[in-house]
């Protein structure tokens, strides 16, 4: 099979895409193996073997999804969304497994269901379904009403769990959805700008003040270029300035220990004994990998178990220590290729639903990749987002494979028509 044929967009099945998924999974298994190997445990109880079973199960699900008609997906969107809201409410108010920290799980005896994972998928379908029929525009503010309601309910329920990082995934999916349903890049920037204002102005250091000034200039420039209705122009500008001043006022009203908490979240290294401890260990592990790494099975940091969650959230530091910059770069290239093949699905048909599901699914992957890796190298707060295909975990592996299944399905069904 020549490479030309491999990239032939008329193929019903994207073998390159599948190949990338399998390669990433294989890397994941190797890393989980090296992070958790102990010679005393029989192989069927090891993490890597369980993860292999997760992947195989996921492949079965993904293969079945290929044969689902696009119309069925559209029709299932609303019912699935309602079911997922009910599950979220149940886990929050009734059956939350309190022992496991936050109430995120429903124990069904055989296995534990994580409704927030299910909600990621159902929300992707429902927002895509709505936006595909009702494009949004800043000139018609009403067009945001229904998407906002669709968004805020699962967002609030997940935030209440509390699971901030998953909640932020919803925001990412929504913004990308808007971008592909009628908004320009400038519009998206304007919508995000008040939040950035809050971040830039919470502390009164001069560096942040300058950044905030630049941001306001950019907002004004965008507003002038965009020629929005006057009311909206005023609202965006006021929102930014108010957010800026309010955040620094609220910040000054906080008790010192509360300020410390926020700072620790934004910059874990400011608390090297708490969250920062993990990040410090992770950075040391990755940094000591050097260019080519210490070699498979030779990660002293991981072997000494300095990293508490090395096989789940901090799997990337296992990679960085053992395979170095080269290994990290290879994985990032694999991810980039994966996203390229994933997004290319939407070029096959003008159907906006296909576009939105494709881009939304890609965004879920992208968001997890960025937030997780940035966390392990100390660029972002420590949140509990796993790395797709590499982190150990059954629920999330299934979510990933369902999304992969959607992408395969959309391509297969578009080509069939």
């Amino acid at each position: 099979m020549s490479s030309g044929k491999l990239l032939d967009s008329s193929l019903k099945i994207d073998w390159l895409f599948i190949g990338l998924v399998v390669s990433l999974m294989a890397c994941g298994l190797v890393l989980v193996y090296s992070a958790t190997i102990m010679d005393e445990i029989p192989f069927y109880r090891t993490y890597w073997f369980k993860q292999l079973l997760h992947f195989l199960g996921g492949f079965v699900v993904a293969s079945l999804l290929v044969f689902v008609k696009i119309d069925w997906l559209k029709r299932a969107a609303v019912p699935l969304y309602i079911v997922s809201l009910i599950l979220l409410a149940v886990v929050l108010f009734v059956a939350g497994d309190v022992v496991k920290g936050a109430g995120r799980w429903i124990d069904l005896g055989l296995f534990k269901l994580q409704p927030s994972e299910f909600a990621k998928i159902s929300y992707l379908l429902v927002i895509s379904y709505w936006l595909s029929r009702h494009p949004v525009s800043l000139y018609k503010v009403k067009s945001f009403a229904v998407p906002f309601v669709l968004f805020i309910v699962p967002f609030g329920l997940v935030l209440k769990q509390p699971d901030l990082s998953t909640a932020l995934t919803f925001i990412a999916v929504t913004l990308v959805g808007f971008f592909f349903a009628g908004l320009t890049l400038t519009d998206v920037f304007l919508m995000v700008s008040p939040v950035v204002s809050v971040l830039f102005s919470h502390s009164q250091s001069i560096g942040y003040e300058i950044l905030w000034g630049l941001l306001i200039c950019a907002v004004v420039f965008a507003l002038v270029r965009r020629r929005l209705p006057k009311v909206l122009t005023v609202i965006f500008l006021a929102a930014n300035i108010l957010a800026g001043y309010a955040s620094s006022m609220v910040w000054n009203m906080l008790e010192p220990h509360q300020q410390k908490r926020v700072n620790t979240f934004l910059d874990p290294m400011s608390d090297p004994m708490g969250d920062g401890y993990q990040v410090l260990q992770s950075i040391t592990a990755i940094g000591s990998g050097g260019v080519s790494g210490k070699g498979f099975g030779n990660g002293t940091q991981t072997n000494l178990s300095f990293l508490p969650e090395e096989h789940t959230d901090f799997i990337f530091s296992v990679l960085g220590e053992q395979f170095g910059f080269v290994g990290c770069a290879v994985i990032l290239v694999l991810f980039a290729l994966f996203l390229w093949r994933a997004t290319s699905v939407c070029k096959l048909t003008p159907d906006p639903f296909v576009t939105l599901v494709t881009m939304g699914a890609s965004t879920i992957f992208l968001f997890h990749i960025l937030v997780n890796i940035a966390m392990t190298i100390g660029l972002m707060p420590v949140t509990g987002l796993p790395l797709p295909f590499l982190s150990y975990g059954g629920s999330f592996a299934l979510t990933c494979m369902v999304l992969v299944g959607f992408l395969l399905c959309l391509r297969y069904q578009c080509r069939r028509r």
Binding site: M38, D39, E40, I41, V176, F179, F180, L185, P272, M273, Y277, L280, Q281, I283, T284, A285, I286, G287, S288, G289, G290, V291, T300, Q301, N303, L304, S305, F306, P308, G320, E321, G324, F325, C328, A329, L332, F335, A336, L339, W340, T343, S344, C346, K347, P350, T355, M359, S362, L366, L370, I373, A374, I377, L379
Partner: protein, 614 residues
């Protein structure tokens, strides 16, 4: 149907958007790559040094637990260092054969008499646990001696991953002294971890159980600290990790109690450990508890021993039929017996239904006919007034008085001075409520066995058979009767001090019951309490002190047919200006005047620094 040209436009616009998206992806991945490059290439040496030559370990520093002192600053509870031998999972050899050799080397170590120092089962369990507990040492030998520690350190090169951990354990220098008041510490239980009041505690924490150790656990704990240390390849500390500050532990607060060691010692000496009984000495002017004994006792030191000895000691006290774990002084519930006659008399005087010179129609001829029932008295007392009736503890007088005054008035008077169902709220856990029955509560409590309230029950109740009190309540009762200035909450805490000795919190005495009566009532009751001890024929004459006027009331509580009575004695001294109230109960020991009065006398002698004349 849309035309294909619009479709093309849509596709073109979409291609453009996807391109923008992918450019974004590449830019963001580029940022990650730059950061990775900085970490792995630019800062490689620094990170490599940290990771390879030096290993970082986080060490939790447990804060010192606060001490407990008596009121004069004598140490009642302190800490001692305790050496634990443990496995540090991270420093153990990775391979199975390496672990096996550490295991074998451990079992090779023998003590002077040639026995194996470590139990192979305990060591094996620790190795099992080391598979999943990575971040803290796993103890397999507790409370090792200095020599044992030295032997292990000597063999350290053959034992990578075996470390000695110093912990601090509780030490009770006086052994069983006041053991029920002090309590003990042990590892937090699974059940406790689930309770809201133990939020913030983690598995393995040592917490106070029972007594003051439990009541003031949060104050004793202090705040644990943490430090980052560099360890060498065999897991031993080589120094502090530079550049990151740890947190020093903040030692816990120390408790200065109201207990008087001298008095407590005298009380403990007066009650043989084989006996069942309790003693409470209290300052009625502010509620300070000066001494509290519950017998049989236990030695809280057993809970600081290594597991095997601890379990043995625990089994002994937990299975003992005499229930040495119970603090009888606050959890023991007894009939108040004749001590309650003070309440019956007080209620009568207070209501005017009784006066100093009132005589009842039936003189005591050894018993009293009520309906078709004949209630006995313990002697033949003839015709008596209230003071003499109390002095001789005549039942017939109080049968008639009780019927005359009625339970509502009697119970109200009792509650006014600390008896009844409401807890006194002493600051150690385990206090049990008393009970002053009336027709309503009697029927309610006895619903199941079908007993009905009858007026004849007043006969028993007026002489203190049928109510429930604790020894603490009895001490509070006589103290408050004598002061006539209100009932203060009994308590052990005087003040809390920090490690530098500064007072952080002081106990404010608190009036919890009115505890007041008419001056005339007070005068008559005091005369009676005086006569019980100091007048000829008084039942409490064995409690008299030379030079100091003691007032008291005896009691002999019937609790089971054919058994000796519970011996009660409740005294106050000096009667004119009360400083101390003592209540003593000896279970199934006989008459209060003969058994318990001498015990209380010894405590009062110690309080007033009197020499024993015998």
């Amino acid at each position: 149907m849309r035309s294909s040209s619009t479709d093309n436009e849509i596709l073109q616009r979409k291609n453009w958007s996807v391109l923008v998206y992918m450019v974004g992806v590449v830019v963001l991945f580029g940022v990650l790559l730059i950061r990775l490059f900085v970490l792995q290439y630019v800062h490689y040496d620094e990170n490599m040094r940290r990771s390879d030559n030096n290993r970082l370990r986080r060490v939790d520093l447990v804060a010192d637990r606060g001490f407990i002192y008596d009121r004069n600053g004598e140490v009642l509870v302190r800490n001692r260092p305790s050496y634990q031998i443990a496995l540090q999972a991270g420093s153990l050899p990775r391979s199975k054969s390496g672990k096996d050799s550490v295991f074998r080397n451990l079992l090779k170590i023998r003590n002077k008499s040639g026995e194996r120092m470590f139990d192979s089962l305990a060591v094996d369990t620790a190795f099992q646990r080391s598979l999943w507990i990575k971040n803290r040492p796993i103890r397999f030998y507790e409370d090792a001696s200095q020599e044992q520690v030295a032997v292990v350190e000597e063999h350290s090169s053959e034992l990578p991953g075996v470390v000695t951990v110093i912990e601090s354990r509780r030490e009770y220098p006086y052994g069983t002294l006041a053991s029920h008041v002090l309590g003990y510490t042990s590892e937090i239980t699974e059940d406790q971890l689930k309770l809201p009041e133990y939020e913030g505690y983690t598995q393995g924490d040592r917490v106070g159980q029972k007594g003051l150790e439990q009541a003031y656990d949060k104050d004793f704990r202090g705040k644990d600290g943490v430090k980052l240390v560099e360890v060498n390849a065999s897991g031993r500390e080589v120094g502090l990790f530079q550049g990151v500050d740890g947190q020093d532990p903040v030692p816990g607060l120390s408790l200065v109690t109201t207990i008087d060691l001298k008095l407590q010692k005298a009380a403990e000496a007066a009650i043989p450990d084989s006996a069942r009984g309790a003693l409470v000495a209290i300052d009625p002017r502010n509620g300070e508890i000066l001494a509290m004994v519950s017998s049989p006792r236990l030695d809280p030191n057993i809970f600081s021993l290594k597991r095997r000895e601890r379990n043995k000691g625990w089994a002994q006290v937990a299975l003992d039929s005499l229930r040495p774990l119970t603090n009888r002084a606050i959890s023991g519930t007894y009939p108040p017996a004749s001590v309650f006659k003070l309440v019956t008399a007080g209620a009568g005087l207070e209501s005017g239904l009784l006066s100093e010179n009132k005589y009842y129609p039936k003189p005591c001829s050894g018993g009293y006919q009520y309906g078709n029932r004949y209630q006995k008295c313990w002697g033949y007392h003839g015709n008596l007034n209230v003071v003499n009736a109390l002095r001789l503890s005549c039942d017939v007088f109080f049968y008639q008085a009780g019927l005359d005054i009625d339970m509502e008035r009697i119970n109200e008077f009792g509650r006014r001075f600390g008896l009844g169902e409401e807890l006194l709220g002493v600051d150690i856990p385990g206090e049990r409520a008393g009970w002053l029955p009336d027709s309503v509560s009697f029927n309610k409590r006895n619903k199941r066995n079908g007993w009905q309230w009858a007026r004849g029950l007043i006969l028993n109740l007026s002489i203190g058979q049928g109510q429930i009190v604790t020894p603490l309540q009895q001490a509070v009762l006589v103290g408050a009767l004598a002061t006539n200035k209100g009932v203060y909450r009994p308590h052990f805490m005087k003040e809390l001090r920090d490690a530098q000795g500064n007072v952080v919190r002081r106990y404010e005495p608190e009036i919890i019951r009115p505890g007041k009566m008419k001056a005339e009532t007070h005068r008559v009751l005091m005369n009676a309490m005086d006569s019980v001890v100091n007048h000829p024929g008084g039942t409490g004459k064995r409690g008299a002190l030379p030079g100091i006027k003691v007032g008291a009331k005896t009691g002999s509580g019937e609790w089971k047919r054919g058994e000796k009575t519970h011996a009660w004695y409740a005294a106050v001294a000096p009667l004119e200006n009360p400083e101390i109230a003592v209540a003593v109960i000896m279970e199934a020991a006989g008459g209060g005047g003969s058994v318990s009065a001498p015990i209380a006398k010894k405590v009062l002698m110690a309080y007033f620094n009197l020499e024993d004349s015998h």
